[in-house]
């Protein structure tokens, strides 16, 4: 179940808040953590939140009320179809199976809804056909 992707930035004092638990229990949304990182400056989470639109909005409002910086994630991988040779190197390195090799046309296909913008495919592409777009997290 794919929902909307968000980039969350925490201050160090918020790192211990059980926010995913609260989101699931109090706001009835399905939370899938795609990436998590904690440093001395705080933490970042990339999560997928699925559910009714109204519930997702309420969940995001709750996160913001806790002082968490929440941005919708628009980052995605951009494919240069002129460079791509359809070799399929990207297919097996993608952690969320966003790439698929079509067994009829033998073309590589990217499902943008699955992509979590982790970037693991970018340095795997020998044809230099992949890059992260520079939109970045939006407010």
């Amino acid at each position: 179940m794919a929902g909307k992707k968000y980039h969350l930035a925490f201050t160090p004092e918020l790192v211990n808040e059980p926010i995913t638990f609260t989101l699931a229990r109090e706001h009835d949304v399905v939370v899938n953590i795609l990436r998590a990182e904690v440093t001395e400056h705080g933490g970042t989470l990339i999560m997928d939140i699925a559910g009714d639109d109204a519930k997702i909005d309420a969940a995001v409002a709750f996160l913001r009320s806790k002082g968490i910086d929440v941005r919708g994630l628009e980052r995605t991988v951009v494919r240069d179809l002129d460079r791509c040779t359809d070799c399929s190197m990207c297919v097996s390195v993608c952690p969320v199976k966003a790439y698929r090799l079509d067994r009829g046309t033998w073309e590589v296909q990217l499902d943008r809804h699955r992509c979590i913008a982790c970037g693991l495919c970018v340095d795997a592409c020998p044809a230099a056909a992949l890059r992260m777009d520079d939109v970045g997290p939006r407010a």
Partner: protein
């Protein structure tokens, strides 16, 4: 039974029956190998993948006053100039001195084929007959004399499947290998691959005319590291075996089939398209081209073992590799092909079209390649031992 002459006269009259390697396998499955022998004249094969041992000779023409170039750079990529005066060899894997991550000799070759201007710098000691000591100019395929690929080792007859049992990511010429056997990569075009459709090289030898990079080329010699002493299954080697040295004019080639590649952590390679026509001279060849991917196997090697003597983990069929996952020690491991099956198929189809239109005839090899050859290793020896 049919001869080269009979096939060429049928090509000339537009009557030749030509099938791609994919088509002939389906035809054989439905009608049998005997019917392939009786009815098919030519089978076209194709492969498009990283072929590192590639490069191009370029003759720049003489400057005024003349120079005997000792050091040459093309778009800042060093090129070998230990040849007379204004000849140089640009190797595919040589890296740019100014932008080593992402650009190298293979990209220079792609740029030349694509009609782009390339920056030439050269220096020299200066001699009485070649007084000039440096030059800085631009060249393109319009300005140079000869410019041809001469690739010492291409079109490998099968190759390993790579995986990585270590706990860190490996960046290799077999691509990005995830830890704990997180993925597996392979490079052969499998059932479309030229040398897997004529495993004994009964029709492929010195002088064979081929599709090379979108243009016409020739097999010029046995490829380096050509070997025959590898394990065989269903009459086919399960590892890297025979190879070809090929050559062809850059003019007439297309960037669609001549591509600079860059493998992070390894370096540059040339993505190259090769297609070889196989004349169905007899039943043995008809049987060879009818082989399918469930019968073609490759060895899975652990690239975290940094040795030339890696022991295969298992053998796996191309049918299994092509399914998207293979089993390694009970784990379902996702696969990636490093060669493009789509482009390989396109090459086989394009070559078929050329032959059907009478634009491409078949050439009987002027020389055969060895039926037996083993590969030597490099040992550290004393002068007397060598």
């Amino acid at each position: 039974m049919r001869t080269y002459e009979e096939i060429n006269s049928r090509i000339e009259s537009g009557d030749a029956v030509v099938m791609t390697a994919e088509e002939v396998k389906a035809f054989a499955a439905e009608h049998g190998v005997e019917k392939v022998e009786r009815e098919v004249d030519v089978v076209t094969t194709g492969t498009f993948g990283a072929m590192c041992s590639s490069g191009a000779f370029v003759n720049f023409g003489h400057s005024e006053p003349p120079i005997k170039m000792a050091k040459v750079w093309l778009n800042d990529v060093p090129s070998y100039a230990g040849l007379a005066a204004v000849d140089a060899y640009i190797g595919a894997t040589e890296l740019s001195e100014s932008a080593p991550c992402g650009y190298g000799g293979a990209h220079v070759i792609e740029d030349l084929v694509g009609g782009k201007a390339v920056h030439l710098r050269a220096s020299a000691a200066g001699t009485d007959c070649y007084p000039r000591k440096d030059i800085d100019t631009y060249i393109s395929l319009r300005t140079v004399n000869q410019a041809y690929l001469y690739n010492p080792r291409n079109a490998y007859q099968n190759y390993a499947v790579a995986t990585n049992s270590s706990d860190r990511v490996l960046y290799t010429y077999m691509g990005k290998l995830l830890p704990h056997n997180g993925n597996a990569t392979f490079s052969s075009a499998g059932q479309l691959s030229p040398l897997l459709n004529d495993p004994q090289l009964l029709t492929i030898g010195m002088g064979t005319k081929i599709f090379l990079g979108g243009g016409i080329g020739y097999v010029s010699w046995e490829g380096t590291q050509y070997k025959t002493n590898v394990p065989v299954r269903n009459g086919l080697p399960v590892g890297a075996a025979r190879t070809l040295a090929v050559m062809g004019d850059l003019r007439g080639m297309s960037p669609e089939y001549v591509r600079g590649l860059y493998f992070t952590g390894y370096g540059c390679s040339l993505g190259l398209g090769i297609g070889i026509p196989i004349p169905i001279l007899n039943g043995e060849i008809a049987k060879a081209v009818s082989v399918t991917e469930d019968q073609i196997f490759a060895q899975v090697l652990d690239y975290s073992v940094q040795s030339r003597a890696r022991k295969p983990i298992r053998e796996v069929s191309y049918q299994e590799l092509r399914s998207g996952t293979i089993d390694i020690g009970g784990k379902e491991v996702r696969t990636s092909s490093l060669s493009s099956y789509r482009k390989a198929l396109k090459i086989a189809k394009e070559l078929k079209e050329w032959i059907e239109k009478g634009q491409f005839d078949l050439v009987r090899p002027a020389g055969e390649f060895p039926a037996e050859r083993s590969q030597k290793a490099l040992e550290v020896l004393s002068c007397e031992e060598a």
